[in-house]
Subunit: 400 residues, 2 copies
């Protein structure tokens, strides 16, 4: 079996932890597998380098930042290879470029355009364990690029696809995907398996185990993904194509506290007004999350949306320019978003109703509702966030 392992920054945070990773890789090797390992920078390194750059300017050139930040993963890759060799294993460390990863030109958030896996395949044929510096590639001009947040996960998934690997194991300090945040609900259970789509909803909703882009890519390229902990021998969670047979009704409940609500009342219902409002927000690079528009009455409509906490004041200012089109505005930064996710919703009715009933039973007022095929999200007062999570967890019997 050919397996790709990916170890994040905390898993390779110091030389002792790199030894721990060495043990895991060696174990997979001893089990007879071919192993390709993708590594992140040692935790703290990237922030140290960013700190250096910010000594000079708050807006360093992105090309330079890529050259700066890509050094961290190279260090870890070389060290892990040295550690494996010291144990008698044949290993080789490759940079993103040497691993054949070619990206577009968008420095600091480049997209992988192609992978030439020849070098890795040859090394595997020679019996080597291959260590690849994650997070990085080169563009067509040969300049170093990086893939943005969670970039090493992306490297791992893309390499797994390009190598036709049997599975891709993403190691972090969390041992899998839970039905909800165990810090809020101690009865939260680790899921054995979850579908790509559910995982996408969960990660975009704030579950931090896997980045959205890497799950999207895994889905697109059909890569069997495992979320595991490098600090335990627990099984982890398999993220794969859903099997409708096993589809559970609800797989997880997520709390996102980084939300602020904007409600525009009495918006004149002329064509293009919504486009104007959201173009303005996009120009200011304000990420809009939920958007709700009610049916209009008397040519006027109510428009609601949420933005990240940090953008609340900016959004407020921007909306002022629409004063002539809007009767009144209402802003609330003390809200949170509670979401119920599950592929089972597709084929079962009543999931949303259970959510609303649970809120009502707990006297929690729902300010906004938004639903997708596999998700129900509700904006509520932030002080009820944890209570909502625990109540919903119980209502859907996720602790069973």
């Amino acid at each position: 079996m050919l397996v790709v392992h990916k170890y994040g920054g905390t898993s390779v945070g110091d030389v002792e932890r790199i030894e721990n990773v060495t043990n895991r890789v060696a174990k997979a090797r001893e089990e007879g597998h071919d192993v390709v390992v993708v590594v992140s920078a040692m935790s703290g390194e990237t922030n140290k380098l960013i700190g250096y750059a910010e000594h000079f300017t708050s807006t360093p050139a992105k090309k330079e930042m890529d050259m700066l930040l890509s050094s961290g993963e190279r260090v870890t890759a070389a060290l892990l290879s040295i550690s494996l060799q010291a144990r008698g294993y044949d290993a080789t460390a490759l940079t993103g470029r040497q691993a054949g990863i070619v990206t577009d030109d968008k420095h600091t958030f480049a997209r992988i355009e192609s992978i030439d896996p020849t070098a890795i395949k040859n090394a595997i044929k020679e019996g080597k364990i291959v260590i690849v510096a994650g997070f990085q590639g080169i563009n067509k001009n040969g300049a170093v690029t990086t893939l943005g947040r969670g970039g090493s996960d992306l490297s791992a998934v893309a390499l797994a696809a390009s190598l036709n690997a049997d599975q891709c194991e993403i190691y972090s300090d969390v041992d899998g995907i839970y039905t909800t945040d165990p810090r809020i609900e101690p009865k939260a259970k680790k899921l054995d398996t979850i579908s790509y789509d559910e995982m996408l909803e969960l990660s975009s909703l704030g579950a931090k185990v896997l980045q959205n882009r890497s799950v999207e890519l895994a889905k697109k390229l059909n890569v069997k993904l495992y979320a595991k902990s490098s600090f335990s021998d627990n099984e982890g969670t398999l993220i794969a194509e859903e099997s409708s047979m096993e589809a559970v009704l609800v797989s997880g409940i997520v709390l996102d506290k980084n939300q602020a609500r904007v409600t525009l009342r009495g918006v004149s219902d002329r064509p293009g007004i919504a486009a104007e409002i959201f173009s303005k927000l996009a120009e200011a690079e304000i990420n809009v999350d939920m958007i709700i528009q009610n049916m209009s009455e008397n040519g006027l409509t109510n428009l609601g949306f949420t933005v990240p906490h940090s953008e609340h004041e900016n959004a407020k200012k921007l909306m002022e320019s629409f004063n002539h089109d809007i009767e009144g505005m209402d802003f609330d930064e003390h809200v949170c978003k509670v979401s119920v996710v599950g592929v089972g919703m597709k084929s079962h009715s009543g999931v949303a109703a259970t959510a609303f009933t649970t809120m009502a039973e707990n006297n929690i007022n729902i300010q906004m509702i938004s639903t997708s095929e596999i998700k129900v999200s509700m904006v509520i007062d932030e002080k009820y966030g944890e209570l909502a999570i625990r109540s919903l967890h119980q209502a859907y019997e996720l602790d069973k």
Copy 2:
């Protein structure tokens, strides 16, 4: 004018020092020059990385060490570029590979085979200051290589030649080449100029400002070299082709304390015995410095040589196998080597005589003598080292 600057580890040791380098580069730019800058890793970084590697093994693979250690120069190059940009200068940072540096396959002590300066030339044409990560290149297979000790000096000299630069300025924490070590003789004077050959003798004799390999390369490629300090505005020393008109008799006196003497008495004068002895030492990778053989008498000869302090015991052991060919052996690790260097010796007699007279006047016994066209070296008791340096400095009137 096109100038190449090279800044060593102490010159870029922290962000404040990188700002200091930024000032120097900006000044050269303001004076109207095109500037290419080669940088080392921040001081301490390389040792930190070596420390990590040595946690796993004392013999890490050289390919991996190259990937590990080359990261330090990339960090400095990116940071200097960011710092220049923050001041409004157009700058770009390049890795050794991007700068077109191709080396042979000898990881950790690779030799530069070729440089394709196209990328640098294009960047200069666009009005950019070009920052190059020193010490590194890639081999023909695309693997990262490093150039060994003093490698960034080599990068700078090779780039200067390949770009046809007007001069190459090597910055360190010392402001030039002195007539002798100022810590031993406070009257030591900074030289305005020195020839490549003299500099080669001086650096191989222990003056640490410039590495031998980079001086050799500068001589071969006829690169005008300046040794300067990044911490002062002093003029520095120009290392260039000698001009016989200006040739001084003696340009410097050097003390090398890392010497141990081996004397083999009554060596049977059969053909090949010297070859056997020195082959044995070479096999054990013991660096032999001075070698002296006297005329033989009665088919027996005396053979003397020096080795580094640390190899003294090894040399002793190796010589035991020659017991049957040798009447007696004499070892002394309490010796040092004092050398007088100057191109003027080529055309002037009496330079050696002055050295011997000076030793005699101070009652210093000369144990071994070795001379080249531009150098007189003497092995003496190490306790007289400093006295010999000061006396010779005065005898040749180097303080005038």
